[in-house]
């Protein structure tokens, strides 16, 4: 075994301290756990296209307008990219003001937050927020 390719190499010692074995066992469990979890998801999970839910988290008058903060959550197990959320201030059936906001990503089973600025103060029941488009990443 003592050929030239062994120059500058370190031989691992055969016997190990007990700490090493504890680390080895913990690591093996963690890696196996991650593999198991992801593998199980890979086998069991059905691919559901992105589905969104929008929740308003804050309404606040700001200089020159009115700010609506909201969360977009994606309950599916596929990530959506370039998600466009359209905010409208409704007066009856007609939209009197409209603004779009684009999210780079809304990851699977996760949420992203953003805000829309309206020029006028909408009443509670006058705001309509909906996602109008997305792409697959």
């Amino acid at each position: 075994m003592k050929d030239t390719s062994d120059i500058g190499k370190v031989t691992e010692k055969g016997e190990a301290h007990w700490i090493e074995w504890v680390t080895a066992i913990v690591s093996t469990l963690i890696v196996a756990g991650v593999l198991g979890w992801v593998g199980w998801r890979a086998v069991s999970e059905e691919k559901v296209p992105p589905a969104f839910r929008i929740e308003i988290t804050e309404r606040m008058p700001v200089e020159g307008g009115y700010r609506i903060r909201f969360d977009v959550s994606n309950s599916a197990n596929r990530t959506a990219a370039a998600v466009v959320v359209r905010g409208e201030v409704m007066d009856g059936d007609a939209a009197v003001e409209q603004a779009d906001v684009t999210f780079d990503y809304v990851p699977a089973q996760s949420k992203a937050s953003g805000a829309i600025l309206f020029a006028r103060e909408p009443r509670q029941d006058q705001i309509r927020l909906r996602t109008i488009s997305f792409t697959d990443p």
């Binding site: 075994m1 390719s5 062994d6 120059i7 500058g8 190499k9 370190v10 031989t11 691992e12 010692k13 055969g14 016997e15 190990a16 301290h17 700490i19 090493e20 074995w21 680390t23 080895a24 066992i25 913990v26 690591s27 093996t28 963690i30 890696v31 991650v34 593999l35 979890w37 992801v38 593998g39 998801r41 890979a42 999970e45 197990n77 990530t79 990219a81 780079d104 990503y105 990851p107 699977a108 089973q109 996760s110 949420k111 992203a112 937050s113 990443p137």
Partner: protein
């Protein structure tokens, strides 16, 4: 006569020490440049300067200090024998990292005088972490033929590598793997590609990536006969080595990936499975970095 000679002698010795220190500084600066440039020229890292959460930036900076101290102890600017020397070298490296990053960002026109102070400091601070690790590595890796000094290093390395108590060596190996993983992670984590890849991947891609990462780690160190590689002990089978070094190494790479992604705010609002996939994606370069660190450092 003897008196003058010894004064002369100590004077040249002092000159030599000063020169060696300056050369060490120069190598540190070169290392900071060499290892820091990819990040200094990455847009996402400039942007992180203003949107990173200040508390996480603080954690990143604070964690960097003990990390540099241990690294200094292992491979510092000068061979350190005491704790305080290691602290001094660590702080020197950190300062070098800050100065080099600041200068480079000014030169590249990323930092302008009319920017708010918080932004300027944030941008420099993020860059200073990889640059300071680079400064530390520069001293040890770019130091070519610093005759006596290097011979010294050489002997100390080999005596370190086969120590009386195996656990010190073991901790050292895990630490070096963490450094290697951290280094590559800092390069890759801020880019948008990491999250994009994790969104593109299906779960079974993740499974394959884990297995490939572990296999690469193991083969890098044990199979492909790099200089500085490690040999299997001849008397025992191969599997214990795999479980004692490679799997813990991968676990270290995953933990470092999780840490870096969290610091950069890449995991905010994500559910468990996407987080896991992102960590697996980043652990791929991390594993390569960890394996390389075992060979090089």
């Amino acid at each position: 006569m003897g008196g003058t000679a010894s004064i002369e002698n100590s004077k040249t010795q002092a000159d030599g020490e000063l020169r060696r220190f300056l050369v060490g500084l120069g190598r540190g600066a070169a290392g900071a440049m060499l290892f820091g440039i990819p990040m200094l020229m990455t847009m996402e890292l400039w942007e992180l300067g203003f949107y990173i959460e200040q508390s996480r930036l603080l954690i990143l900076l604070l964690v960097n200090i003990p990390l540099l101290i241990v690294l200094a102890h292992l491979i510092g600017f000068e061979r350190t024998s005491t704790f305080w020397q290691a602290v001094r070298d660590a702080l020197t490296a950190f300062a070098l990292g800050i100065v080099i990053s600041g200068a480079a960002l000014v030169m590249l026109g990323v930092l302008k005088a009319d920017m708010p102070m918080a932004t300027i400091i944030g941008k420099i601070a993020i860059q200073a972490v990889p640059a300071s690790i680079g400064a530390m590595l520069g001293r040890s890796q770019l130091g070519g033929e610093d005759n006596a000094d290097d011979e010294d290093d050489e002997t100390s390395q080999s005596s370190d590598a086969v120590p009386d108590s195996l656990s010190t060596n073991y901790v050292r190996e895990l630490f070096l793997m963490a450094i290697g993983a951290l280094f590559l992670n800092l390069n890759v984590a801020p880019t948008e590609e990491v999250v994009l890849i994790s969104y593109k991947m299906m779960n079974w891609h993740g499974v394959v990536t884990i297995l490939v990462s572990i296999a690469i780690m193991h083969c890098f160190v044990y199979a492909v006969s790099f200089r500085g590689g490690h040999r299997m002990p001849e008397d025992s089978s191969r599997w214990p080595i795999f479980f004692r070094y490679t799997l813990p190494g991968y676990m270290v790479a995953m933990l470092v990936s999780l840490y870096v992604l969290w610091i950069f705010g890449r995991l905010d609002g994500m559910a468990a499975t996407p987080v896991l996939i992102s960590v697996i994606v980043l652990s791929f370069p991390g594993a390569i970095g960890a394996a390389a660190a075992r060979l090089i450092l």
